[in-house]
């Protein structure tokens, strides 16, 4: 009160005046004098009602609360033909978006205008008519054996350019440049990391079902540029990328017990891991690339061990009579999730990466196996077998929020994309055919088959190529 200037007080006095305070009392007094408490009651009730009614109207001034929920629509991106693009850079970008779940390319036949000048603002009103939310323009030029590509990302609603970049490289790397452009656009729109410029190591299966030839192979995440890594005379399964994507650890069936080997992608050299008696299998690199976690069989049991790749030292992580296998590190390298049947059916356990008491995290019905920890750290994907159905699911690292993304016969072996938003797994429908690799997002919105020349299984998704 004392803060108000003198004028306020004077004006207030003039407007509201001391007499108003007394009005009600005066009225009441008049009513009483007029005759009877009844009239007083009537007057008070009417006054109260009037007051209530008058105070009701101010609702619409309230705020609007919009909650994101089940409605999911991808953002529509129009990839206009890049000027000078005969290497089909734009086509690869659009194909990437078509398999990105969160972005969707606009059908080129509905484009309202042809972009003549890629550096100039498009006619946004025209693009709004087809509900495009973003427009990509750009140009590509070839000089000898090299390619230079640049793009601009335009936001149709605000009318601004929100991203732009130029890439150059050898002409044979044109696809990589397309993937880099797609990554840049994806990241700018969704705020998430990219995943298009990455590769997948997997098992390429050929031949009849009784005599299937399984060899390691490498491909881009969209199925392009596939090449074999091993000759295939011996079985090689469960390949796993190293964090820098330079090596692949896998299980090799040669003479004697199956053993873990490491293949160097650059040199092609293969070497056995450790000098273990018995079977070694299920290898997985630590995030810093220093260690390999793997499973060693000891009689009827299998226990987890840590193998130091530099020193060759082996450290025991579990010591029990159960089958512990399929270890996977958390992205910070401090924890390991693995599969164990110590409680009866196979379940998932989390323990410290230096060993220690494991905590069980899966409690649903069925058998839980092949756990993998997301690079984002927020999810663990797994295979669940229940009533003969094989499901790929995710759960939080403490076991909560279990969701099954796909179920059927026979899904197995999830692996996370570098940005933690997608999973690849393989599905074998059984019968005379074979397995194929599929890609899905972690919310289960959509699923795509990854094109491979033959049957394929055991995918392992590598990091974004450096």
């Amino acid at each position: 009160m004392t803060r108000l200037g003198p004028t306020t007080m004077w004006l207030a006095a003039m407007t509201w005046g001391p007499s108003r305070v007394n009005a009600a009392t005066t009225g009441e007094r008049a009513a009483l004098r007029g005759g009877g408490r009844r009239k007083l009651g009537l007057l008070s009730a009417l006054a109260a009602l009037g007051f209530m009614a008058a105070s009701n109207g101010a609702l619409a001034v309230g705020d609007i609360y919009v909650k994101a929920g089940a409605n999911f629509t991808p953002a529509l991106v129009a990839v206009t033909p890049l000027q000078g693009d005969d290497a089909k850079v734009g086509a690869v970008v659009a194909a990437d978006f078509a398999r990105s779940v969160f972005l969707q390319p606009v059908d080129p036949s509905s484009f309202p205008e042809a972009i003549g000048e890629p550096d100039k603002r498009p006619n946004f009103d025209a693009w709004k008519t087809i509900n495009a939310q973003f427009v990509v323009t750009g140009r590509v030029s070839h000089q000898g054996g090299s390619i230079v590509a640049q793009f601009r990302l335009w936001d149709v609603e605000t009318g601004e350019q929100i991203a732009g970049q130029q890439y150059s490289g050898e002409a044979q790397n044109a696809r990589r440049i397309s993937h880099l452009i797609a990554d840049a656009v994806f990241t700018r729109i969704t705020g998430e990391g990219g995943f298009f410029d990455s590769r997948v190591v997997f098992v390429d299966e050929t031949g009849p079902k009784e005599k299937r030839r399984k060899r390691l192979a490498l491909m881009d995440m969209d199925g392009a540029n596939m090449r074999s890594l091993t000759a295939g005379d011996n079985l090689a399964v469960t390949p796993r990328f190293s964090p820098n994507a330079e090596q692949v650890a896998y299980m090799h069936f040669g003479d004697g017990d199956p053993k873990v080997e490491i293949l160097d992608l650059e040199t092609g050299r293969r070497e056995s891991v450790g000098e273990f008696t018995g079977m070694s299998f299920s290898p997985r690199f630590s995030p810093d690339g220093r260690y390999l976690a793997l499973s060693l069989s000891e009689g009827a049991a299998s226990n987890l061990f840590l193998y130091d790749l530099q020193s060759g030292q082996t450290t025991r992580l579990t010591d029990d009579a159960a089958i512990d296998t399929s270890p996977s590190f958390s992205p910070d390298g401090k924890q390991i999730v693995f599969e164990s049947d110590r409680g009866g059916a196979q379940q998932l356990y989390v323990m410290s990466a230096s060993g220690g008491m494991p905590q069980r995290i899966s409690f649903g019905e069925g058998r839980y196996s092949t756990p993998v920890w997301s690079p984002r750290g927020d999810l663990i994907a797994f295979t669940r077998v229940k009533d003969g159905q094989f499901g790929i699911g995710v759960m939080k690292p403490d076991g909560a929020g279990e969701r099954i993304l796909t179920e059927g016969f026979h899904n197995e072996g999830p692996t996370f994309a570098p940005n933690g938003l997608f999973l690849m797994f393989f599905r074998d429908p059984g019968g005379e055919s074979g397995a194929k690799i599929y890609m899905t997002d972690i919310f289960g919105h959509a699923e795509f088959q990854v094109p491979t020349p033959s049957y394929a299984s055991d995918p392992s998704w590598g990091p974004e190529t450096k």
Partner: protein, 299 residues
């Protein structure tokens, strides 16, 4: 007069009691939260002579600083008080100074929101420019002129206030903050008001419209949830009459994509074809703050 209660009395009493009960239940169920304190003005009564004494001022008082009015409400009730003190008010310097109104009209304490400017530049949030309202400066001038009229440069005011002129100015005064509703009892408040159910229906309509326009990013960053709040100002046809303003830019850059998606939603939902039954109540939905709550789809 008979003291015995009659049947009519019972009926009337019963009806009024029921009405009171209903009004209390429905009235308070949808009662708005208390408005800012500026809506109510504490009242102290003084006499005319006391006021004149105050207005005369003191001979050795320091010259007044010219400050912008602290709240729009104060501006409404009176023009800049600092303009009134006895010493020659430096009012002409008010005019070239850009009125600080934009900072007050939108309820934001910080400078105009501007997301991180590093390239590529994200969606810029333009300077807040709500419906331009009459700046108080002219009124300050008018009122001050009124006050100072008889003596242009003399340091000592000795003439009396003209209450009629001031009252006239008050009647002409418009609310300077378009977001604040005309409170009960002020002279402007004459528009019809929506019933609670109609207002709720309009809110539901807005919510659904913005939900359909919104493409939230795929995931929700860890940590405290950020709900983007965007202030929109409509024209009667439902189109935006001013640039929408993000009133709470995220301090954590991980939420930048969410803030941008909210702004895109508001821009995409322009113009909104508000159903005609709400048209007469335009004043009540002319400005809205839309909250975009990213409930995680991961559950």
């Amino acid at each position: 007069m008979s003291e015995e209660p009659t049947k009519t009395g019972y009926v009337v009493s019963g009806v009024l009691h029921a009405g009171l009960l209903a009004a209390v239940i429905f009235g308070f169920a949808s009662a708005p939260k208390f408005e800012d304190a500026s809506e109510s003005i504490p009242v102290d009564t003084i006499t005319q002579s006391e006021f004149n004494e105050i207005m005369k001022g003191e001979r050795d008082a320091p010259p007044a600083k010219v400050q912008p009015p602290a709240t729009p409400q104060e501006t409404l009730a009176y023009a800049a008080p600092e303009a009134l003190p006895p010493s020659p008010p430096p009012r002409p310097s008010d005019e070239p100074k850009p009125p600080p109104k934009p900072a007050q009209e939108t309820p934001q304490p910080s400078p105009p929101p501007r997301p991180a400017q590093d390239t590529p530049s994200p969606i810029p949030s333009p300077k807040p420019k709500p419906t331009p309202s009459p700046s108080p400066t002219p009124k300050t001038d008018a009122l001050a002129k009124l006050i100072d009229e008889p003596k242009s440069d003399t340091p000592k005011p000795t003439r009396a206030m003209d209450p009629n002129a001031i009252r006239k100015l008050l009647a002409d005064a418009k609310p300077t903050d378009p977001a604040q509703p005309a409170a009960q009892g002020l002279p402007n408040h004459s528009a019809p008001r929506m019933s609670p159910s109609l207002a709720a229906a309009l809110d539901a309509w807005f919510t659904e419209a913005y939900l359909n326009c919104w493409n939230p990013p795929p995931t929700v960053p860890a940590g405290e949830k950020y709900v983007a709040q965007i202030k929109v100002v409509f024209a009667p046809d439902g189109s935006l009459s001013a640039q929408p303003v993000l009133i709470n830019p995220p301090s954590d850059p991980a939420w930048q994509a969410h803030a941008e998606s909210a702004m895109r939603a508001v821009l995409k939902c322009n113009p909104l074809h508000v159903p005609p039954q709400y048209a007469p109540y335009f004043e009540q939905w002319r400005t809205k703050t839309v909250h975009f709550d990213p409930e995680s789809a991961l559950g």
